[in-house]
Protein backbone atom coordinates (compact mmCIF):
# COMPACT_ATOMS: atom_id res chain seq x y z
CA UNK A 1 0.00 0.00 0.00
CA UNK A 2 2.82 2.36 0.96
CA UNK A 3 4.65 1.52 -2.28
CA UNK A 4 1.54 2.24 -4.34
CA UNK A 5 1.09 5.60 -2.61
CA UNK A 6 4.73 6.49 -3.21
CA UNK A 7 4.41 5.44 -6.86
CA UNK A 8 1.30 7.62 -7.28
CA UNK A 9 3.11 10.63 -5.82
CA UNK A 10 6.16 10.07 -8.04
CA UNK A 11 4.02 9.59 -11.17
CA UNK A 12 2.05 12.72 -10.28
CA UNK A 13 5.25 14.64 -9.68
CA UNK A 14 7.27 13.71 -12.71
CA UNK A 15 5.00 12.56 -15.52
CA UNK A 16 2.71 15.48 -16.18
CA UNK A 17 4.09 18.03 -18.64
CA UNK A 18 1.92 20.87 -17.28
CA UNK A 19 3.84 20.81 -14.01
CA UNK A 20 7.09 22.66 -13.93
CA UNK A 21 10.55 21.69 -12.94
CA UNK A 22 12.90 24.25 -11.50
CA UNK A 23 16.54 23.76 -10.72
CA UNK A 24 19.67 25.62 -9.84
CA UNK A 25 22.82 25.48 -7.85
CA UNK A 26 25.42 27.19 -5.77
CA UNK A 27 29.22 27.22 -5.75
CA UNK A 28 30.91 28.46 -2.60
CA UNK A 29 34.54 28.82 -1.69
CA UNK A 30 36.02 29.97 1.60
CA UNK A 31 39.60 30.51 2.71
CA UNK A 32 40.32 31.08 6.37
CA UNK A 33 43.57 31.91 8.11
CA UNK A 34 43.96 31.41 11.86
CA UNK A 35 47.02 33.06 13.35
CA UNK A 36 47.62 32.08 16.98
CA UNK A 37 50.15 33.56 19.34
CA UNK A 38 50.88 30.94 21.99
CA UNK A 39 51.80 31.73 25.63
CA UNK A 40 55.45 30.83 24.94
CA UNK A 41 55.50 33.45 22.12
CA UNK A 42 55.64 30.81 19.40
CA UNK A 43 53.23 31.01 16.47
CA UNK A 44 50.69 28.46 15.25
CA UNK A 45 49.17 29.36 11.87
CA UNK A 46 46.61 27.35 9.95
CA UNK A 47 44.97 27.65 6.55
CA UNK A 48 41.51 26.19 6.00
CA UNK A 49 39.96 25.97 2.56
CA UNK A 50 36.33 24.90 2.24
CA UNK A 51 34.59 24.48 -1.12
CA UNK A 52 30.99 23.54 -1.67
CA UNK A 53 28.97 22.78 -4.81
CA UNK A 54 25.21 22.29 -4.46
CA UNK A 55 22.51 21.39 -6.92
CA UNK A 56 18.81 21.75 -6.15
CA UNK A 57 15.57 20.95 -7.86
CA UNK A 58 11.94 21.70 -7.24
CA UNK A 59 9.15 19.84 -8.96
CA UNK A 60 5.65 21.09 -8.38
CA UNK A 61 2.77 18.66 -8.40
CA UNK A 62 -0.13 21.06 -8.91
CA UNK A 63 -0.83 24.19 -10.91
CA UNK A 64 -1.02 26.49 -7.86
CA UNK A 65 2.46 25.54 -6.66
CA UNK A 66 1.15 24.30 -3.31
CA UNK A 67 2.34 20.69 -3.60
CA UNK A 68 6.05 20.40 -4.29
CA UNK A 69 8.95 18.01 -4.23
CA UNK A 70 12.35 19.43 -3.25
CA UNK A 71 15.82 17.90 -3.42
CA UNK A 72 19.27 19.36 -2.84
CA UNK A 73 22.59 17.61 -2.81
CA UNK A 74 26.04 18.98 -1.99
CA UNK A 75 29.66 18.03 -2.40
CA UNK A 76 32.32 19.50 -0.09
CA UNK A 77 36.04 19.60 -0.57
CA UNK A 78 37.96 20.73 2.49
CA UNK A 79 41.69 21.21 2.93
CA UNK A 80 43.37 21.96 6.25
CA UNK A 81 47.01 22.95 6.38
CA UNK A 82 49.11 23.89 9.38
CA UNK A 83 51.48 26.52 7.96
CA UNK A 84 53.61 27.22 11.04
CA UNK A 85 55.03 24.81 12.18
CA UNK A 86 54.84 23.15 8.76
CA UNK A 87 52.69 20.02 8.72
CA UNK A 88 51.21 17.77 6.07
CA UNK A 89 47.91 18.91 4.48
CA UNK A 90 44.71 17.05 5.32
CA UNK A 91 41.98 16.73 2.68
CA UNK A 92 38.31 15.82 3.08
CA UNK A 93 35.77 14.85 0.42
CA UNK A 94 32.20 14.93 1.75
CA UNK A 95 28.88 14.30 0.01
CA UNK A 96 25.50 15.15 1.47
CA UNK A 97 21.79 15.23 0.75
CA UNK A 98 20.67 18.56 2.23
CA UNK A 99 17.04 18.36 1.30
CA UNK A 100 14.72 15.61 0.09
CA UNK A 101 11.09 16.27 0.86
CA UNK A 102 7.52 16.47 -0.29
CA UNK A 103 5.71 19.60 0.80
CA UNK A 104 1.94 20.06 0.85
CA UNK A 105 0.53 23.52 1.57
CA UNK A 106 -3.19 23.48 2.31
CA UNK A 107 -4.98 26.83 2.73
CA UNK A 108 -7.90 26.64 5.12
CA UNK A 109 -10.70 29.16 5.55
CA UNK A 110 -10.34 32.24 7.79
CA UNK A 111 -6.69 32.93 6.89
CA UNK A 112 -5.58 29.57 8.28
CA UNK A 113 -3.16 27.21 6.62
CA UNK A 114 -1.65 23.79 7.11
CA UNK A 115 1.75 22.81 5.75
CA UNK A 116 2.81 19.18 5.84
CA UNK A 117 6.35 18.20 4.89
CA UNK A 118 7.73 14.68 4.68
CA UNK A 119 11.35 13.75 4.16
CA UNK A 120 14.61 15.49 5.00
CA UNK A 121 14.26 19.10 6.06
CA UNK A 122 16.02 21.57 8.32
CA UNK A 123 14.61 22.69 11.63
CA UNK A 124 15.78 25.36 14.08
CA UNK A 125 14.20 25.78 17.48
CA UNK A 126 13.07 29.19 18.82
CA UNK A 127 16.52 29.97 20.22
CA UNK A 128 18.43 28.69 17.15
CA UNK A 129 20.89 27.39 19.75
CA UNK A 130 19.43 24.05 20.88
CA UNK A 131 18.71 22.68 17.42
CA UNK A 132 19.91 24.00 14.05
CA UNK A 133 20.18 21.05 11.69
CA UNK A 134 18.42 18.62 9.36
CA UNK A 135 16.07 15.82 10.38
CA UNK A 136 14.39 12.98 8.48
CA UNK A 137 10.73 12.83 9.34
CA UNK A 138 7.41 14.58 9.20
CA UNK A 139 6.91 18.30 9.88
CA UNK A 140 3.46 19.84 10.34
CA UNK A 141 2.85 23.60 10.58
CA UNK A 142 -0.51 25.13 11.32
CA UNK A 143 -1.19 28.86 11.26
CA UNK A 144 -4.24 30.93 11.97
CA UNK A 145 -4.61 34.56 13.16
CA UNK A 146 -5.05 33.44 16.80
CA UNK A 147 -2.23 30.94 17.15
CA UNK A 148 0.41 28.93 15.30
CA UNK A 149 1.66 25.45 15.94
CA UNK A 150 4.43 23.14 14.77
CA UNK A 151 4.82 19.43 15.36
CA UNK A 152 7.55 17.16 14.15
CA UNK A 153 8.65 13.58 14.52
CA UNK A 154 12.06 12.70 13.09
CA UNK A 155 15.23 10.64 13.13
CA UNK A 156 18.87 11.70 12.94
CA UNK A 157 20.57 8.35 12.26
CA UNK A 158 20.61 8.72 8.46
CA UNK A 159 22.20 12.19 8.44
CA UNK A 160 25.85 12.78 7.61
CA UNK A 161 27.80 13.41 10.82
CA UNK A 162 30.45 15.23 8.78
CA UNK A 163 28.00 18.04 8.04
CA UNK A 164 25.52 17.71 10.95
CA UNK A 165 27.17 18.22 14.28
CA UNK A 166 25.16 16.54 17.02
CA UNK A 167 26.59 17.21 20.47
CA UNK A 168 27.80 13.77 21.54
CA UNK A 169 30.32 12.45 24.02
CA UNK A 170 32.50 10.76 21.44
CA UNK A 171 33.37 12.90 18.43
CA UNK A 172 35.33 10.48 16.26
CA UNK A 173 36.62 12.12 13.10
CA UNK A 174 36.26 9.72 10.23
CA UNK A 175 37.75 10.49 6.88
CA UNK A 176 34.76 9.28 4.91
CA UNK A 177 32.49 10.76 2.26
CA UNK A 178 29.37 9.99 4.28
CA UNK A 179 29.37 8.92 7.91
CA UNK A 180 26.08 8.16 9.67
CA UNK A 181 25.25 10.40 12.62
CA UNK A 182 24.17 9.24 16.08
CA UNK A 183 20.62 7.88 15.87
CA UNK A 184 18.15 9.93 17.92
CA UNK A 185 14.39 9.98 17.59
CA UNK A 186 13.18 13.56 17.81
CA UNK A 187 9.87 14.97 18.90
CA UNK A 188 9.07 18.69 18.61
CA UNK A 189 5.98 20.55 19.68
CA UNK A 190 5.61 24.34 19.32
CA UNK A 191 2.73 26.62 20.20
CA UNK A 192 2.70 30.40 19.72
CA UNK A 193 0.11 33.13 20.23
CA UNK A 194 0.16 36.78 19.13
CA UNK A 195 -0.21 39.33 21.92
CA UNK A 196 -0.75 43.06 22.31
CA UNK A 197 -0.92 46.09 20.05
CA UNK A 198 2.04 45.08 17.91
CA UNK A 199 1.05 41.40 17.72
CA UNK A 200 4.16 40.33 19.63
CA UNK A 201 4.40 36.60 20.13
CA UNK A 202 4.52 34.39 23.18
CA UNK A 203 5.77 30.88 22.43
CA UNK A 204 6.36 27.60 24.16
CA UNK A 205 8.35 24.77 22.66
CA UNK A 206 9.20 21.23 23.67
CA UNK A 207 12.06 19.27 22.09
CA UNK A 208 12.72 15.66 22.98
CA UNK A 209 15.55 13.48 21.68
CA UNK A 210 15.79 9.79 22.54
CA UNK A 211 18.38 7.21 21.57
CA UNK A 212 16.33 4.12 20.71
CA UNK A 213 18.49 1.60 22.53
CA UNK A 214 18.84 0.24 26.06
CA UNK A 215 20.30 2.89 28.40
CA UNK A 216 20.36 5.30 25.48
CA UNK A 217 20.84 9.02 25.94
CA UNK A 218 17.84 11.25 26.46
CA UNK A 219 17.81 15.00 25.91
CA UNK A 220 14.75 17.14 26.56
CA UNK A 221 14.35 20.90 26.30
CA UNK A 222 11.48 23.17 27.25
CA UNK A 223 11.56 26.80 26.09
CA UNK A 224 9.36 29.79 26.83
CA UNK A 225 10.02 32.80 24.61
CA UNK A 226 8.60 36.19 23.77
CA UNK A 227 9.53 38.41 20.85
CA UNK A 228 8.24 41.41 18.99
CA UNK A 229 8.15 45.19 19.00
CA UNK A 230 8.53 47.40 22.10
CA UNK A 231 8.10 50.66 20.21
CA UNK A 232 8.37 51.09 16.43
CA UNK A 233 11.90 50.13 15.23
CA UNK A 234 12.89 48.68 18.63
CA UNK A 235 12.57 44.89 18.67
CA UNK A 236 13.26 42.32 21.34
CA UNK A 237 13.74 38.55 21.59
CA UNK A 238 13.97 36.77 24.90
CA UNK A 239 13.83 33.12 25.90
CA UNK A 240 14.45 30.77 28.81
CA UNK A 241 15.22 27.12 28.15
CA UNK A 242 15.37 24.35 30.67
CA UNK A 243 17.17 21.15 29.71
CA UNK A 244 17.13 17.69 31.21
CA UNK A 245 19.79 15.34 29.87
CA UNK A 246 20.30 11.69 30.73
CA UNK A 247 23.71 10.52 29.59
CA UNK A 248 25.41 7.32 30.73
CA UNK A 249 22.46 6.82 33.10
CA UNK A 250 23.18 10.13 34.84
CA UNK A 251 20.53 12.81 34.86
CA UNK A 252 21.51 16.49 34.63
CA UNK A 253 19.43 19.65 34.40
CA UNK A 254 20.55 22.94 32.84
CA UNK A 255 19.37 26.42 31.89
CA UNK A 256 19.92 28.63 28.85
CA UNK A 257 18.89 32.30 28.82
CA UNK A 258 18.95 34.28 25.61
CA UNK A 259 18.06 37.95 25.08
CA UNK A 260 18.46 40.35 22.18
CA UNK A 261 17.45 43.99 21.79
CA UNK A 262 17.70 45.53 18.30
CA UNK A 263 17.06 49.01 16.93
CA UNK A 264 16.47 49.47 13.19
CA UNK A 265 17.33 52.93 11.85
CA UNK A 266 15.25 54.48 9.11
CA UNK A 267 18.10 54.93 6.65
CA UNK A 268 20.82 52.76 5.07
CA UNK A 269 19.31 49.58 6.54
CA UNK A 270 21.27 50.32 9.70
CA UNK A 271 20.76 48.19 12.79
CA UNK A 272 22.33 48.10 16.22
CA UNK A 273 21.76 45.33 18.74
CA UNK A 274 22.75 44.18 22.20
CA UNK A 275 22.67 40.51 23.11
CA UNK A 276 23.41 38.16 25.94
CA UNK A 277 23.37 34.39 26.35
CA UNK A 278 23.96 32.44 29.50
CA UNK A 279 24.38 28.65 29.48
CA UNK A 280 24.67 27.14 32.95
CA UNK A 281 27.71 25.09 33.90
CA UNK A 282 28.97 22.74 36.55
CA UNK A 283 26.53 20.42 38.32
CA UNK A 284 23.59 21.91 36.42
CA UNK A 285 25.33 22.26 33.07
CA UNK A 286 23.45 23.11 29.91
CA UNK A 287 24.24 21.37 26.62
CA UNK A 288 22.61 22.00 23.24
CA UNK A 289 21.52 19.15 20.96
CA UNK A 290 23.19 20.50 17.81
CA UNK A 291 26.77 21.68 18.29
CA UNK A 292 26.18 25.45 17.96
CA UNK A 293 28.81 28.05 18.81
CA UNK A 294 28.81 31.40 20.62
CA UNK A 295 31.46 32.77 18.25
CA UNK A 296 31.68 32.58 14.46
CA UNK A 297 35.49 32.62 14.73
CA UNK A 298 36.38 29.79 17.08
CA UNK A 299 34.94 26.68 18.70
CA UNK A 300 32.78 27.85 21.62
CA UNK A 301 29.86 25.53 22.49
CA UNK A 302 26.98 26.70 24.66
CA UNK A 303 28.29 25.01 27.81
CA UNK A 304 29.22 26.86 30.98
CA UNK A 305 29.40 30.21 29.18
CA UNK A 306 28.05 33.74 29.57
CA UNK A 307 28.38 35.90 26.51
CA UNK A 308 27.44 39.59 26.25
CA UNK A 309 27.99 41.70 23.19
CA UNK A 310 26.93 44.33 20.71
CA UNK A 311 26.54 44.26 16.94
CA UNK A 312 26.08 47.01 14.36
CA UNK A 313 25.31 46.59 10.67
CA UNK A 314 24.81 48.90 7.72
CA UNK A 315 23.81 48.69 4.04
CA UNK A 316 25.26 51.99 2.72
CA UNK A 317 24.69 51.19 -0.96
CA UNK A 318 22.76 48.49 -2.77
CA UNK A 319 24.48 45.11 -2.43
CA UNK A 320 26.99 46.22 0.21
CA UNK A 321 26.67 44.97 3.80
CA UNK A 322 28.98 45.99 6.64
CA UNK A 323 28.94 44.50 10.12
CA UNK A 324 30.97 44.90 13.31
CA UNK A 325 30.54 42.99 16.54
CA UNK A 326 32.18 42.53 19.88
CA UNK A 327 31.58 39.88 22.56
CA UNK A 328 32.82 39.51 26.11
CA UNK A 329 32.89 35.93 27.36
CA UNK A 330 32.80 34.64 30.93
CA UNK A 331 32.29 31.20 32.37
CA UNK A 332 28.67 30.37 33.11
CA UNK A 333 29.52 29.25 36.62
CA UNK A 334 31.27 31.86 38.74
CA UNK A 335 33.28 29.29 40.67
CA UNK A 336 34.90 28.06 37.43
CA UNK A 337 38.42 29.45 37.11
CA UNK A 338 39.20 31.73 35.44
CA UNK A 339 35.77 33.42 35.44
CA UNK A 340 36.69 35.88 32.66
CA UNK A 341 37.41 34.00 29.43
CA UNK A 342 38.16 36.71 26.91
CA UNK A 343 36.95 39.27 24.42
CA UNK A 344 36.43 39.02 20.66
CA UNK A 345 35.80 41.51 17.88
CA UNK A 346 34.95 40.94 14.26
CA UNK A 347 34.25 43.03 11.17
CA UNK A 348 32.55 41.70 8.06
CA UNK A 349 32.09 43.11 4.58
CA UNK A 350 29.81 41.45 2.01
CA UNK A 351 29.20 42.65 -1.51
CA UNK A 352 26.59 41.17 -3.82
CA UNK A 353 27.02 41.72 -7.53
CA UNK A 354 24.03 41.36 -9.89
CA UNK A 355 22.16 39.22 -7.33
CA UNK A 356 24.13 36.07 -8.19
CA UNK A 357 27.68 36.66 -6.95
CA UNK A 358 28.52 37.46 -3.36
CA UNK A 359 31.97 38.27 -2.04
CA UNK A 360 32.79 38.41 1.63
CA UNK A 361 35.71 39.40 3.82
CA UNK A 362 35.96 39.19 7.57
CA UNK A 363 38.67 40.02 10.07
CA UNK A 364 38.58 39.45 13.80
CA UNK A 365 40.46 38.59 16.95
CA UNK A 366 39.84 36.63 20.09
CA UNK A 367 41.90 37.80 23.03
CA UNK A 368 41.50 35.22 25.78
CA UNK A 369 42.41 35.57 29.42
CA UNK A 370 45.55 33.55 28.76
CA UNK A 371 48.29 35.09 26.60
CA UNK A 372 47.19 33.24 23.48
CA UNK A 373 45.66 35.56 20.83
CA UNK A 374 43.75 34.21 17.85
CA UNK A 375 43.47 36.31 14.68
CA UNK A 376 40.97 35.09 12.12
CA UNK A 377 40.90 36.25 8.49
CA UNK A 378 38.32 34.87 6.07
CA UNK A 379 37.62 35.35 2.38
CA UNK A 380 34.43 33.98 0.88
CA UNK A 381 32.86 33.81 -2.57
CA UNK A 382 29.41 32.48 -3.48
CA UNK A 383 27.89 32.14 -6.92
CA UNK A 384 24.32 30.97 -7.48
CA UNK A 385 22.99 29.78 -10.81
Amino acid sequence: MKNKLLLCILVLAFSSPVFAFEGGGLIETEIGFDISKLPNNSTYNTLKNRNKASLWLKQNMDKEGRYNFYAQTSYFFKANQVLVPKEKSVFFHIADVDLLKFSFFIPIENKSSLNIEMGRSSFSDITKIVSAQNYDGIFIRYKNPKFSGFWSFGYTGLLNSLTTFIETESRVKQNKVYSLASGYLSLVSFFGIPLGKYRNSLNIEYLGFFEPKASGNLKTYFTVSADGIIVPRLLFITSVTGSLIRKNEKLKGGVLINADLSYYFSSYGAKISLHTQWASGGKYGFESFTRTNVSRQFSSPYKNVWNTGAKASLKPVSGLYLEALTNVLFNGEKSSEPFYRGIEWMTTLNYTILNDISLGFSLGQYIPNSAKVLTHIELKGIMTF
Binding site: V18, E22, K63, N355
Partner: protein, 148 residues
Amino acid sequence: MDKKIFVLPLFLFCAAFLTAQSAQKIDEILQSPVLTNGQACYLAGTAAGIFEDINSYSEALDSFKHLKGFKDADAGTSVRLDAFSHLILKASGIKGDLWYRAANNPYYAFRFLKMIGIIEQNAVPSSSISPRDALIIFTKLTGDKNEK
Protein backbone atom coordinates in the same frame (compact mmCIF):
# COMPACT_ATOMS: atom_id res chain seq x y z
CA MET B 1 -11.51 43.21 -0.21
CA ASP B 2 -10.14 41.67 -3.40
CA LYS B 3 -11.53 44.59 -5.38
CA LYS B 4 -9.86 47.09 -3.06
CA ILE B 5 -6.50 45.37 -3.43
CA PHE B 6 -6.94 45.34 -7.17
CA VAL B 7 -7.97 48.96 -7.64
CA LEU B 8 -4.66 50.47 -6.52
CA PRO B 9 -2.33 48.70 -8.97
CA LEU B 10 -4.87 49.15 -11.73
CA PHE B 11 -5.13 52.85 -11.00
CA LEU B 12 -1.35 53.25 -10.91
CA PHE B 13 -0.96 51.27 -14.10
CA CYS B 14 -3.62 53.18 -15.98
CA ALA B 15 -2.54 56.58 -14.70
CA ALA B 16 1.07 55.94 -15.53
CA PHE B 17 0.85 54.37 -18.93
CA LEU B 18 -2.53 54.07 -20.49
CA THR B 19 -3.91 57.55 -20.69
CA ALA B 20 -4.08 57.42 -24.47
CA GLN B 21 -5.50 53.96 -24.64
CA SER B 22 -9.05 52.95 -24.98
CA ALA B 23 -10.62 52.09 -21.66
CA GLN B 24 -12.73 49.57 -23.53
CA LYS B 25 -9.64 47.53 -24.48
CA ILE B 26 -8.37 47.47 -20.93
CA ASP B 27 -11.79 46.54 -19.66
CA GLU B 28 -11.89 43.72 -22.18
CA ILE B 29 -8.54 42.39 -20.95
CA LEU B 30 -9.65 42.59 -17.34
CA GLN B 31 -12.74 40.56 -18.08
CA SER B 32 -10.60 37.64 -19.28
CA PRO B 33 -10.10 34.76 -16.84
CA VAL B 34 -6.46 34.36 -17.93
CA LEU B 35 -4.05 36.66 -19.73
CA THR B 36 -3.29 35.62 -23.30
CA ASN B 37 -0.02 36.10 -25.18
CA GLY B 38 -1.61 38.85 -27.27
CA GLN B 39 -3.04 40.67 -24.26
CA ALA B 40 0.27 40.44 -22.39
CA CYS B 41 2.12 41.97 -25.33
CA TYR B 42 -0.55 44.65 -25.70
CA LEU B 43 -0.23 45.70 -22.05
CA ALA B 44 3.57 45.52 -22.01
CA GLY B 45 3.98 47.37 -25.32
CA THR B 46 1.54 50.08 -24.36
CA ALA B 47 3.06 50.57 -20.94
CA ALA B 48 6.53 50.75 -22.43
CA GLY B 49 5.36 53.23 -25.06
CA ILE B 50 6.55 50.93 -27.84
CA PHE B 51 3.29 51.31 -29.73
CA GLU B 52 0.11 53.33 -29.52
CA ASP B 53 -3.42 52.59 -30.57
CA ILE B 54 -2.86 49.08 -31.82
CA ASN B 55 -6.24 47.49 -31.91
CA SER B 56 -5.38 43.88 -32.47
CA TYR B 57 -3.67 41.54 -30.02
CA SER B 58 -1.96 39.67 -32.84
CA GLU B 59 -0.35 42.94 -33.99
CA ALA B 60 0.88 43.47 -30.44
CA LEU B 61 2.27 39.94 -30.35
CA ASP B 62 4.08 40.51 -33.65
CA SER B 63 6.07 43.31 -31.98
CA PHE B 64 7.49 40.83 -29.48
CA LYS B 65 7.89 37.77 -31.71
CA HIS B 66 11.67 38.13 -31.47
CA LEU B 67 11.58 37.24 -27.77
CA LYS B 68 12.13 33.66 -26.58
CA GLY B 69 8.78 32.30 -25.45
CA PHE B 70 6.83 34.30 -28.05
CA LYS B 71 8.33 33.10 -31.35
CA ASP B 72 5.73 30.42 -31.98
CA ALA B 73 3.11 31.77 -29.61
CA ASP B 74 -0.50 32.18 -30.51
CA ALA B 75 -2.18 35.47 -29.58
CA GLY B 76 -5.26 33.71 -28.20
CA THR B 77 -3.57 31.15 -25.92
CA SER B 78 -2.69 31.87 -22.31
CA VAL B 79 0.75 33.33 -21.60
CA ARG B 80 3.12 31.39 -19.35
CA LEU B 81 4.36 33.17 -16.24
CA ASP B 82 8.03 32.76 -17.26
CA ALA B 83 7.35 34.18 -20.75
CA PHE B 84 5.43 37.07 -19.18
CA SER B 85 8.40 37.73 -16.86
CA HIS B 86 10.74 37.88 -19.86
CA LEU B 87 8.33 40.19 -21.68
CA ILE B 88 7.96 42.73 -18.89
CA LEU B 89 11.69 42.82 -18.15
CA LYS B 90 12.35 43.61 -21.81
CA ALA B 91 9.50 46.12 -22.00
CA SER B 92 10.56 47.93 -18.84
CA GLY B 93 14.24 47.95 -19.78
CA ILE B 94 15.34 46.27 -16.54
CA LYS B 95 18.56 44.36 -17.14
CA GLY B 96 18.15 41.72 -14.45
CA ASP B 97 20.75 39.60 -12.73
CA LEU B 98 23.93 38.00 -14.03
CA TRP B 99 22.31 34.86 -15.44
CA TYR B 100 19.38 36.69 -17.05
CA ARG B 101 21.84 38.97 -18.83
CA ALA B 102 23.83 35.95 -20.01
CA ALA B 103 20.98 33.61 -20.95
CA ASN B 104 18.35 36.21 -21.90
CA ASN B 105 15.51 33.70 -21.63
CA PRO B 106 12.14 33.29 -19.83
CA TYR B 107 13.47 30.87 -17.20
CA TYR B 108 16.06 33.30 -15.85
CA ALA B 109 13.60 36.21 -16.09
CA PHE B 110 11.21 34.24 -13.89
CA ARG B 111 14.03 33.29 -11.50
CA PHE B 112 15.15 36.94 -11.21
CA LEU B 113 11.66 38.25 -10.45
CA LYS B 114 11.20 35.51 -7.86
CA MET B 115 14.55 36.32 -6.27
CA ILE B 116 13.75 40.02 -5.85
CA GLY B 117 10.31 39.22 -4.46
CA ILE B 118 8.17 40.48 -7.36
CA ILE B 119 6.83 36.98 -8.00
CA GLU B 120 5.67 34.77 -5.12
CA GLN B 121 8.03 32.01 -3.97
CA ASN B 122 5.55 29.22 -4.72
CA ALA B 123 4.86 30.48 -8.26
CA VAL B 124 5.26 28.01 -11.11
CA PRO B 125 6.96 29.08 -14.37
CA SER B 126 4.55 27.17 -16.63
CA SER B 127 1.41 28.46 -14.94
CA SER B 128 -1.01 30.87 -16.55
CA ILE B 129 -1.66 34.27 -15.03
CA SER B 130 -4.75 36.38 -14.49
CA PRO B 131 -4.83 39.96 -15.90
CA ARG B 132 -5.15 41.24 -12.34
CA ASP B 133 -2.00 39.44 -11.16
CA ALA B 134 -0.18 40.57 -14.30
CA LEU B 135 -0.90 44.22 -13.49
CA ILE B 136 0.17 43.75 -9.87
CA ILE B 137 3.50 42.24 -11.02
CA PHE B 138 4.02 45.02 -13.55
CA THR B 139 3.22 47.73 -11.00
CA LYS B 140 5.57 46.21 -8.40
CA LEU B 141 8.35 45.96 -10.96
CA THR B 142 8.02 49.49 -12.27
CA GLY B 143 7.63 50.75 -8.70
CA ASP B 144 10.91 49.04 -7.78
CA LYS B 145 12.62 50.52 -10.82
CA ASN B 146 11.41 54.04 -10.01
CA GLU B 147 12.57 53.70 -6.39
CA LYS B 148 16.06 52.82 -7.62
